[in-house]
Amino acid sequence: MTDTKRSEAGPSVRARFAAVSHWWNGQSRPVQWAYMVPVVLFLLALPVLNPPIITTEPYTDFPISLFNAAVFALIAIGLNVVIGQAGLLDLGYVGFFAIGAYTAALLSSPDSELGVRYPWLVIVPIAMVVTMISGVILGTPTLRLRGDYLAIVTLGFGEIVRLLADNVDPLRGNRGFQNIARPGGEFPDGTPIFSQTDALGFYWLAVIIIVIVLLFMGNLERSRVGRAWIAVREDEDAAELSGVPTYRFKIWAFAIGAAVGGLSGTLFAAQVGYVNNQRFDVTTSILYLAAVVLGGQGNKVGVIVGAFLVSYIPDRFQFEPQYRFLVFGIALIVLMIFRPQGLLGMRQHLLTYGRQAYRKLFGAGAAVAPSGLSASSRARGDLPETTPDDHAGTSPRGGGE
């Protein structure tokens, strides 16, 4: 009895979910963003609302907890380029985060021997360039290697970065750097927007950065670059023999992922105001991996959700940290067995113009390949009735711009 019930409920829920995601995929990009605006506004307001049940207080300061989750999400977005899009297993991603944080420290802390104090806004592009270059340096010799060698070499890279932080004198090991630059600006009442004690401003900044990064990532995904990454992931030889310069695009994936990692490092360093060698071990890299895999590799929304879970749940429920690692370790095993695609499956946005193409071909409903649906309900007009009449006739050509 229960069995039949479940089997009835299962498909209908799945169908409803598929219909929603189908409808969503059918919207043009500006429309999608228009729908996102209230969501983003809600997220921005979240720490101010500090709603009960959701809040992590009294254990953890809610804005700080949200800020940490946002940084985690940014990291996951960057790592998703490497793992989810291009299918390269990078286990040393924490190294880029560290390089970003240390770049901020070296360029702004009074403890730095460079003796400069650049403002945060100047540091960000420098840090991104530095991490990008280190991504290229790491990738150039290793991206010719087979996939699993790459994993071990990147792991080694992460360790080397940590060991450098331990052992290189100017990086100050355990003593670390104090007073790292943070963005300026004051609230009307004179208190600084960005401060170590109140993470509200930083959280807002992080959300805005995430939105901007997502926009750029969306551009990449819907281009030759995103297609090249997925082609490499699906079948590297066939990609190369279809004219994709696979090595070059793998390096790009590494560089772009690294740059986002570096960006998140600077953001983190600015909020905490302090960097030392204690946060950059490989275990942290594995947590990043867990976030990406948990949420769904290759799905931006998925990895954000994954990152949020990995960061927020321990704060909310006051896990002992060791259980956190245990739970995520087991989650990885179970997930790979039962849902290897993660909580939200892989999704691609390969063609912007293709959206119009499909629509023209198959009528209004079929705006985008119904990848989640079976072949039987494919785009020939026999689409779910839930698909609302959308903006086929009116949306501008290349509407994703």
Partner: protein, 333 residues
């Protein structure tokens, strides 16, 4: 520019006929595009539409160069794997505008030959020259850009992508946008993206699977997947298209349809090399045959000559020439 505009101006002939296309070597894909012309298409518009399709499909045809001249030269190709000699001093030419069949028993070295031509393996000695340029040391994606595209014996599509996207990956071989352009959505990138989709749609229509453009490649039936691979290869605008056993697993009617498609591809100005076991397909489409056996070339010539060649008969019939069934050679496929 809005979609409304496009619809009104739809079905304007672009490179209206073959002849007009042939005069220019590099016809840009149509501004108006194929997609628009698909809507509200009457019978009268069909011809124009077809012309637009083929204009989009084969922009790189160069009729200016005489047909029959050497496009690709395989020159003294030798390949050894460990102790095994897969190819032993094989030489032959592929001439512009022809369909060349590469046949021989399994293990004779046909696929190895393909793999050298497309850069999968490097030759032990000898060379492959495309219009005089050596391909032997060229990077694989450069070989594609130089103008050699292929399909695979065991179909290799990008399973996570739709049919259309698979073909668009092929068109990317000719695109110049890289990360910065895509990141900032520069005008050239947007133009390339739009043209790519137009062209990919045209190609899907050309190979006859446009109705499934929005389906995931893995969801397509087997025959569609083979055709999709051909479309993806054509999207790279090759001078030479290499088909590796395209008819494997096809029923008789599917084979006939495939033969038609291959002929259509040739008629559109491409040069084709085909490895195939099915003699009906081979004899039905090829202009010339090269026969490999045990890594060596044993015959090279017109199909009719080759099938009477005693060396070929003996290679296929195991040295027992006198056992060859009488009349097998008279029959035309």
């Amino acid at each position: 520019m809005s979609a409304g505009d496009d619809v009104q101006r739809s079905a304007t002939p672009v490179g209206a006929t073959h002849e007009s296309t042939s005069t220019s070597l590099d016809v840009p894909p149509s501004e108006e595009g194929i997609l628009e012309s698909l809507e509200h298409m009457g019978a009268a518009e069909r011809a124009e539409h077809d012309a637009a399709v083929s204009a989009s499909v084969a922009p790189a045809r160069d009729f200016a160069v005489a047909q029959g001249e050497t496009l690709l030269a395989v020159d003294g190709l030798t390949v050894r794997f460990g102790g095994l000699t897969a190819l032993d001093d094989v030489s032959f030419d592929v001439r512009r505008g022809e369909i060349l069949g590469l046949i021989g028993p399994n293990g004779a070295g046909k696929t190895t030959c393909f793999n050298i031509m497309t850069g999968v393996y490097r030759p032990t000695s000898g060379d492959v020259l495309l219009e005089g340029r050596s391909l032997a040391r060229m990077k694989r994606y450069r070989i594609i850009q130089a103008g050699v595209a292929r399909t695979f014996q065991n179909i290799r599509l990008f399973g996570a992508m739709t049919a259309l996207e698979n073909v668009v990956v092929g068109t990317d071989a000719r695109h110049r946008t890289s990360v910065p352009g895509a990141l900032l959505r520069l005008p050239r990138h947007r133009r390339e993206e739009r043209d790519a989709v137009e062209k990919a749609m045209a190609l899907l229509e050309f190979v006859g699977i446009a109705d499934r453009a929005a389906d995931k490649a893995t969801a397509l039936p087997y025959g569609y997947q083979r055709r999709l691979e051909i479309a993806r290869a054509l999207a790279t605008e090759p001078k030479l298209l290499c088909l590796d056993e395209p008819a494997a697993g096809f029923s008789a009617s599917e084979k006939d349809a495939l033969s038609e498609l291959i002929l259509k591809i040739r008629d559109d100005g491409y040069t084709v090399v085909i490895v195939e076991h099915d003699m009906r397909v081979v004899l039905g489409v090829t202009d010339r045959l090269v026969v490999l056996d045990f890594g060596r070339k044993i015959a090279d010539g017109l199909p009719d000559e080759v099938r009477r060649d005693p060396a070929v008969i003996s290679a296929y019939l195991g040295g027992a020439v006198e056992d060859a069934p009488a009349g097998a050679g008279e029959e035309d496929a």
